[in-house]
């Protein structure tokens, strides 16, 4: 393994442990790792963005299609965000990007996520479809505030709450699963990647010293 690889793994391990140290309490190592991560992520993202923008643009410019230079001008107009006097210029690229995104999104979203979902909910071929249909109607009714929820309407509303709670519970369950997976990923890295595992005893010693210091401070 090269020196660069060794240093990369050691710094990745140190960063991981420094970020985990927040579980004990906020501390300097956590702060350094947090800021380093934000800075590195921003720098890396900017570099990839610039590289890919040039990769997409360069072939058109090489063909002599002058109007592609407009995209550079529009992109640079974002920098007027930092001026007071010409802040209005910044609104043009923002409007162009948002307008384009909205144009791409809205038409399809209405069909895919609204009309098609309504249609699919109304087609009942098995017990699962029936449960979904009942759940959707009852859950929607729970938010219907024009009529007082009394009698049978109260029952429908209650069923709606149970469906909502079941959905939230499922979301919570899979969120926990996701978080545990992340922890497993980082622990596997720390335990099985040489030389990252040498950092674990160092971290444990530092943690014990920190806890002992806290304890002494509290006593005094």
């Amino acid at each position: 393994m090269s020196v660069v690889d060794t240093l990369t793994i050691l710094s990745a391990g140190a960063m991981t442990i420094a970020l985990f140290s927040y579980l004990w309490r906020e501390n300097l190592a956590f702060r350094i790792a947090e800021h380093a991560f934000v800075g590195a992520a921003a720098g890396y993202g900017a570099l990839i963005l610039a590289e890919s923008a040039w990769r997409l643009l360069e072939p058109w410019l090489a063909k002599g299609l002058w109007y592609w230079y407009l995209t550079i001008i529009i992109g640079l107009a974002y920098l007027f965000f930092f001026t007071r006097e010409y802040f209005w210029v910044y609104r043009y690229p923002t409007a162009i990007v948002l307008g384009g995104e909205m144009g791409v999104f809205i038409g399809r979203a209405i069909k895919t996520q609204f009309l098609e979902q309504v249609r699919a909910t109304t087609i009942i071929t098995n017990i699962n479809d029936a449960i979904v249909a009942v759940g959707v109607i009852c859950a929607l009714f729970y938010f219907y505030a024009t009529m007082e929820h009394k009698g049978i309407l109260r029952g429908i509303s209650r069923v709606g709450i149970y469906f909502l709670m079941a959905a939230f519970g499922a979301s919570f369950g899979v969120t926990v699963m996701a978080r545990i997976s992340l922890l497993i990923g980082r622990l596997r890295f720390l335990y099985f990647t040489s030389p990252a595992y040498y950092l674990i005893p160092v971290a444990l010693v530092l943690l014990i010293v920190g806890i002992a210091r806290d304890y002494m401070k509290k006593r005094s």
């Binding site: 791409v104 922890l183 622990l187």
Partner: protein, 292 residues
């Protein structure tokens, strides 16, 4: 950081009340221990039945004729990679085994290295591989998520060059595609944690390309409305990835992590139950003492 209950009053507290006020750091420590033990000493908890969503995706890919083109969209952040990346490797391996053509692109900047990792781990090489440009292409990062995907769907060669600066029009990969747009795709697989919706909106509905997913578990509940009509199948988190690794007979990181995943869940379920018992009894205790 201190737990909610460090302001200990003079009044004697029941065990249930003390349970409610436990310093959360003990919970963190317990979770780390419970997850670390099976990682260091695997116990081989059975994976259980392969879920229908995973099996459907496997069957769909398995029935595709050799040479079919599938699109793999890497949208996993480093945070979601622990769950999504093993699935991406297993799916790519399956596609390679079946002789399918695979086109990758990254929808976010930090997903770019995961495509390189997939090439290295499955093929052993990136653009130097003899089949690169014939059966596999990496388009690199395409900006603007849905807008970028829309442009790609309309013209598969819209980026003109791949991630390594090679001209797409010179590649054998695209030479026999009749439409050079999304109509030539047989499947689009999304990896990540943000949204599969835009893939369905821009590929499945307008071009009839079935969608698949290797998604972080948090996203699973958002895919179900599209399953099985628009999304043919998907891998849910680490478990789905582990199932696919088993199906393609390539046990890897996901399978290795499942013992820890199962025990971690067990610990959390027990803690949730204990927390609720503590809550119920402490309320009853307060009520019997005339409190709220």
């Amino acid at each position: 950081m201190r737990g909610a209950g460090w302001d200990v009053g003079s009044e004697a507290k029941s065990i249930y009340e003390r349970l409610q006020e436990l310093d959360p750091r003990y919970v963190y420590l317990l979770v780390i221990i419970v997850i670390s033990l099976p990682l260091l000493r695997p116990i081989g908890i059975p994976l259980g039945m392969i879920s229908g969503e995973t099996l459907e995706l496997y069957r769909y890919i398995d029935t595709l004729p050799p040479g079919s083109v599938i699109l793999m969209i890497a949208d996993q952040s480093p945070a979601a990679a622990a769950e999504c990346q093993p699935g991406m490797l297993a799916l790519f391996q399956h596609a390679v085994n079946k002789g399918l053509r695979v086109m990758f692109f990254a929808a976010r900047t930090d997903a770019v290295p995961f495509i390189s990792e997939a090439f290295i781990k499955v093929l052993g090489k990136e653009s130097e591989h003899p089949d690169y440009g014939k059966r596999y292409v990496n388009l690199g990062f395409i900006p603007q998520y849905e807008v970028g995907l829309t442009a790609l769907a309309a013209n598969l060669l819209y980026t003109t060059r791949d991630a390594y600066g090679k001209e797409l029009k010179d590649m054998e990969f695209f030479s026999d595609l009749p439409n050079k747009n999304a109509k030539d795709l047989k499947l689009a697989i999304y990896y990540g944690a943000s949204a599969v919706d835009w893939v369905v909106r821009q590929l499945t509905d307008p071009y009839g390309v079935p969608a698949g997913g290797g998604v972080a578990a948090v996203l699973a509940s958002r895919i179900y409305p599209y399953y099985p009509d628009k999304v043919v199948g998907f891998l849910t988190g680490l478990k789905g990835s582990a199932e696919y690794e088993v199906l393609v007979k390539r046990p890897g990181e996901a399978v290795a992590g499942m013992d820890a995943q199962s025990l971690g869940h067990l610990a959390i379920v027990i803690m949730v139950i204990l927390g609720n018992i503590g809550y119920a009894f402490s309320r009853r205790g307060r009520a019997s003492r005339g409190g709220g």
